[in-house]
């Protein structure tokens, strides 16, 4: 059981709000932190009513394996990130 939480009913990968929507992201963070003092019982989960705006749940319920390969070496979003990590931490640490 969680101590307390707010629930954002968005597609996986948007827990803190839709991208490039700073006002929504701020409202969600504010709700989460205000719940610290509002929740009086353990496990209080408050659903937030920010809508996603487009249908997405039918797709999310499909039995599809979206996972990519589970590499056992450090992975990077950008190739330049790997170079930056090598520069700071050395080749063996940064590339595994």
């Amino acid at each position: 059981m969680v101590p307390r939480a707010v629930f954002t009913d968005f597609p996986l990968g948007n827990t803190a709000g839709p991208p490039n929507a700073p006002d929504v992201q701020l409202a969600i963070a504010r709700s989460a932190l205000e719940n610290i003092h509002q929740a009086t019982a353990p496990g209080t989960i408050i659903p937030l009513d920010h809508g996603w705006g487009a249908p997405w749940k039918d797709e999310a319920r499909q039995l599809l394996d979206h996972r990519t390969t589970r590499f056992d070496t450090p992975q990077y979003q950008e190739a330049s990130d790997r170079a930056a990590a090598i520069a700071q931490h050395g080749e063996s640490t940064a590339t595994g």
Partner: protein, 180 residues
């Protein structure tokens, strides 16, 4: 039940009472794995465990907040996460520009996070709340890891104690956990 035409592993559709109900990701994952022929994953079940609920010591405007996120966020220059039970965590200075933050994860659609990392790591929102005096402080660093960890033992024995120890050092009043 509805057949899915473009389905990589078979046919199926996790049922919900109504289409607007939250997606039951545990059921979706269980059924997807079953179709792949995997043995059933034994999820941690803490529903009967007592919640670690503590009363806040001071008002929000006087509380220091530490941000902890599991979406695989790292800063440029950091070593990236492996995708195989990586139980290390990164410390991201909370004055790091969003443009210097990246994500790597094998199990969720990173499109939003790569477009705007604040979708899984609300660093700008917490900076704004700090600047506006809504929170007492934003801890100097945020802690991040790659949450697709299948080994509950390694999570409990290595990652969690490490994160807890660091949070205590940061002397924060509130930990805001953002899962993916």
């Amino acid at each position: 039940m509805r057949a899915v035409k473009h389905c990589a592993v078979g046919y199926g559709f996790a049922m919900a009472a109504t289409p607007d109900d939250p997606v039951d990701y545990i059921a979706v994952t269980r059924d997807t794995y079953a179709q792949l022929g995997y043995s059933e994953y034994r999820w941690a079940d803490n529903r009967d465990a007592p919640a670690p609920f503590t009363e806040p010591k001071r008002p929000l405007a006087e509380s220091t907040v530490v941000l902890i996120a599991s979406g695989g966020v790292y800063a440029v220059g950091d070593v990236g996460f492996t995708h195989k039970d990586d139980v290390t965590f990164r410390e991201i200075p909370t004055d790091t520009p969003s443009e210097q933050l990246r994500v790597t994860h094998f199990a969720y659609d990173e499109t939003s996070a790569k477009d705007d990392v604040n979708a899984v790591f609300p660093i700008e929102a917490l900076r704004a709340m700090d600047a506006g005096g809504e929170i007492g402080g934003f801890a100097d660093v945020a802690l991040t890891f790659m949450g697709g960890i299948y080994s509950q033992r390694r999570l409990h024995e290595t990652l969690v104690p490490g994160v807890v120890e660091r949070v205590k050092q940061l002397d924060a009043d509130i930990a805001l956990l953002v899962p993916v």
